[in-house]
Symmetry: C2
Subunit: 157 residues, 2 copies
């Protein structure tokens, strides 16, 4: 069973993702927000992840590219609204294949009973956008991404 809880209530325009890590939140935050480590966990392991830009600071831009075995590329980008170490990152998120469809992602790192609970809330411009993301199979990718991050955190712990 996946340790990642994904909540997407009918009729709402958000997806909430919760994962608990067996590590202090300073470490989870630092690992999750290190541009050099990103290729080791962001997205499915079947794809190559290339960090084109990752400015982890308020006002900083980011762009990450996924490349498959055939050389096809899928790019994602946005801007950081807020980076409050070690507790919160708020940023925009856009898949370049669907320009103009943007979500707002709030990642909160909280210490709960000695573990770190990462809650990522993505709000979309419409219910339709939210449902299209769910239909694209993001759930499997999100679970794999969280497991990969957990493994990386355990390694650097």
């Amino acid at each position: 069973m996946s340790r990642t809880r994904i909540v997407a209530e009918p009729g709402k325009q958000e997806i909430v993702l919760v994962h608990e890590f067996d590590a202090p939140r300073e470490l989870v935050f630092a690992t999750a927000n290190d541009p050099e480590l990103l290729p080791e966990w962001w997205g499915p392991s079947s794809l190559t992840t290339i960090v084109d830009r990752m400015e982890v600071r308020p006002g900083g831009s980011w762009r990450v590219v996924h490349r498959d075995a055939d050389g096809n590329e899928f790019a994602f980008r946005g801007v950081h609204h807020d980076v409050t170490e070690p507790e919160r990152v708020i940023r925009t998120f856009e898949f370049e294949g669907a320009p103009g469809h943007v979500s707002l992602e709030t990642a909160v790192f909280a210490t709960v009973a000695g573990k770190t609970r990462l809650t990522t809330t993505s709000v979309y411009q419409s219910i339709e956008d939210r449902d299209a993301v769910l239909a694209s199979g993001m759930e499997g990718g999100a679970r794999e991404t969280m497991e990969r991050l957990a493994a990386l955190v355990a390694k650097v712990h």
Copy 2:
């Protein structure tokens, strides 16, 4: 009767604001996104509006301050995710008095029957945040802001 339509359905986490201008959209877009003109229309006329920063480009930051007659200041800030002239601006929005509560604002400028329809959709991190904004009396401020912008557009037209 106000010419601004404000839609905030119960149970949703968004507010939609629609206003039609008797002017070409290039002009409405240019007027609404000119940092030097902003103090003439943004917010209620009872407050002084000071543009601290307004970088109207993808990745650009913005910060605007309202000052009342007693010298009290209320600041708002965010980042521009996207600026596609003359049709769309997507940016984040935060009232500094409620840090961490951020919304995603999508402004679409469309030509409809010879007029320009500006539709601004704000999505919030939660229904509670959305409802708090409504309870704060934003509707009156938004209507006055749209009327002031319309008057300014008519003047420069």
